[in-house]
């Protein structure tokens, strides 16, 4: 579809100089649905959140929501625990996902995508269903209700692992194999080649994978509810209760802003804003 549109545009360009503007203009039409979507469901809600975060219940400007957050040791501890869980989940995911992605990318068979499919297929099954299945398995091993933090991490890793595998896999298969050959030619053994060539070149994949695991696992409270029996506090749950039972949208929005800032810091740290390397990054992800 997209390629045919391009073809038409190119034809116009070549055939008639005057049509160039129109052709370009038409192509930009394609962005309108996305632009509308973005404005309606991303930008507008964001403004609402900012508005609520800096106002009190009567609508007056205030910083009190943030003051209340940072002066409550429960809230701050809650945030730290969430970050901790997200860090552990990301690390475990990386440890598991990297070898898997590496092996997958080395499959010579033309049917290698079947193996990729094997790792992705579970994602097509309804998450609630998978969660209950895992819950029963944990129960079978006697872990449920006892090791809540461990269960939470297991659940998170189980849920987010594919998000780590895919970007790493895509960077690895796109990597120029001749670089590895060159390394071998210059006398680098397997380990040296891996650590000096393959690993550094796959960093963009690792980074986007880490982002995709780290951020949602900070707030995915369905998992702590299911596997941690709601005993593990997560910032996402706190936000939910602020909008639900507490009916304190201002505080809830302030919490959301705090999370947003953390997200920005993470992006800054991992270079998520650097555009020049887009081509080698985890592709569509």
């Amino acid at each position: 579809m997209a390629s045919s549109v391009k073809a038409v545009a190119r034809e116009n360009y070549a055939g008639n100089e005057k049509k160039t503007f129109r052709a370009l203009f038409k192509r930009s039409y394609l962005a309108i649905p996305y632009g509308l979507f973005l404005a309606l469901f991303v930008v507008f809600p964001l403004f609402l959140i900012v508005y609520y975060a800096f106002t009190d219940k009567s609508g007056g400007f205030t910083f009190n929501n943030f003051v209340a957050f940072f002066s409550s040791s429960t809230y701050v501890s809650n945030l730290l625990i969430s970050i901790g869980i997200a860090c552990v989940t990301t690390a475990v995911c990386l440890l598991i996902a990297y070898p898997v992605a590496y092996i997958l990318s080395r499959f010579k068979s033309a049917r290698s995508y079947i193996f990729v499919l094997l790792f992705i297929a579970p994602m097509w099954i309804n998450f609630v269903l998978r969660a209950y299945a895992l819950r029963e398995i944990l129960n079978l091993f006697g872990l449920l209700g006892k090791t809540n933090f461990l269960n939470t991490v297991i659940g998170m890793v189980y849920d987010f692992l594919p998000f780590m595998i895919l970007p790493i896999y895509t960077t690895l298969i796109k990597m120029d194999k001749s670089l590895e050959e060159a390394s071998a030619d210059l006398g680098g053994n397997g380990a040296v080649t891996f650590f000096k060539v393959t690993l550094p070149l796959s960093v963009p994949g690792i980074v986007s994978g880490a982002m995709m695991v780290f951020l949602p696992s900070m707030s995915c409270y369905v998992i702590t509810d299911t596997f941690g029996n709601s005993k593990v506090p997560l910032i996402g749950k706190l936000i939910e209760s602020m909008f639900g039972t507490n009916a304190n949208w201002n505080m809830g929005s302030a919490l959301a802003i705090v999370m947003l800032i953390i997200m920005f810091i993470t992006m800054l740290l991992t270079g998520g804003f650097k555009g020049e390397k887009e081509t080698t990054r985890g592709n569509a992800l």
């Binding site: 040791s73 429960t74 501890s77 809650n78 730290l80 097509w124 039972t245 020049e276």
Partner: protein
Amino acid sequence: MKKIALLVVAALIAAIPLTAGVAVEKEAYAAGETLTLKVANWEDYIDESVLEEFETQMSEKYGKTVTVQYNTFGTNENLYNDLKIANGYLYDVICPSDYMIEKMAKEGMLKELSLASGGNYDLYASDYIKGIFENKIKWNDKTLADYAVCYMWGTMGYVYNPKNVSHEDMKDWASLWDAKYKGRSTIKDSVRDSYFVGIAYAKKEELLKLKADYDAKTITADAYNAELTKIFNDTSEETVKEVQKALTALKKNIFGFEVDSGKNDIASGTIDINFAWSGDAVYAMDEAEAVGVELYYSVPETGSNIWFDGWCIPKNAQQTELANDFINFMCDPEIAVRNMEYVGYTSGIAGDKTFSIDYYDEDSGELVETVEYSGVYDWMVQTYELSETAGEGLTEVDLSYFFGDGKVVYTDTVGRQFSAQYPDTATTTRCVVMNYFDDETNERINTMWENVKGVSFPAWAIILIVVGVVVIVGVVLLIRFKDKIFKNKLGGKKGVKVVRKEDM
């Protein structure tokens, strides 16, 4: 490559449900040949086949196509938020709980009901329910009856497995704190319900003394209930602190907090004690029975919570007349019984009216039998195989408070589904309504609950962690942007051109 891209797209699509938020549907109503009634009710809280019957009946009455748009909500607060966001019209009939009806009414979100006398509620509702709605729950010059008609009601108590838990222990809320049952029980992940348990533990001495007074007949049942109501609704700062202490201790002893998974966990044997609503208790007992496990329900002796869900009409409802018809329809004894058979809670309807119900085989869908009942009471007697005369091995259950004078039944199974669905007088005497908390109280109690649910690190630990994180972040940032920093410095002073590695 394309395949991979497709997979990635699929992965993203799979991720959407995770991040999907609350969708707000706002739809302008256009009058036409069809009348649409928008109903909002709790999940799994109605036999949906009665809705079709309502549509058929009303289509005849109005000579137009009447359709019911049935919506569900998960918590009272969600319903409240939905209505607030819509800022007016969203539903024509809603079914919140007692305290939420009071909150909504106080905020002017509800219409006052004007039920015709001689309607189903007037004719068939239990006098007990009417009494509570008209006299028990009131504020300013209004009562619950001004805004709501009881749909279902119930108590809170324990569902437990007598194989691993003694019946005696289940008469006491403190058993939840008992190390004997460590990791075997759940409480609700809902502040109001769990606050109740916390009070029962914190004020145990007071409650026991009161019970002794009542048992010794030095105070009347009404006075006893009034005193209990006062204690269980105590939200003074001191009490909230005590409750926080009690619940924090409890957190270490329980299996977990839940609102939904408990009824399945108790049926499957994952836990032995589930702090439950009576209707969920009936459900859990039915489920367990299917796999040969006998569960019991008990309302502890020092008192418990009784609650009511009622049909209300929001302020800006468009179909008031149809909404009234709907409420009237739901109060029909036959409809009430069909809903009770489906949800397991107790309808506020108790009256007599002959009707018959068809029972179908669950697997084949074939009609098994048609049973005729002379009313709700008769349905209860037949369903639970109760005896209306005393006999050996039978326990007397006085239900006159609900069904009227002389309605005393005898059963050989106390503590099972029947007891959960129709508590006896002794039980309802010690069950109290939990009032609506005002905003200030609500905030204090929510904060208490967050403290219970969360973990609080000491200040020095927080500072240490934060400083550590900041240092790490700073170092990483410095490494990341050192090129830029150097470039500026050198470029400004000496005019040396620094080429970034990536640019080469």
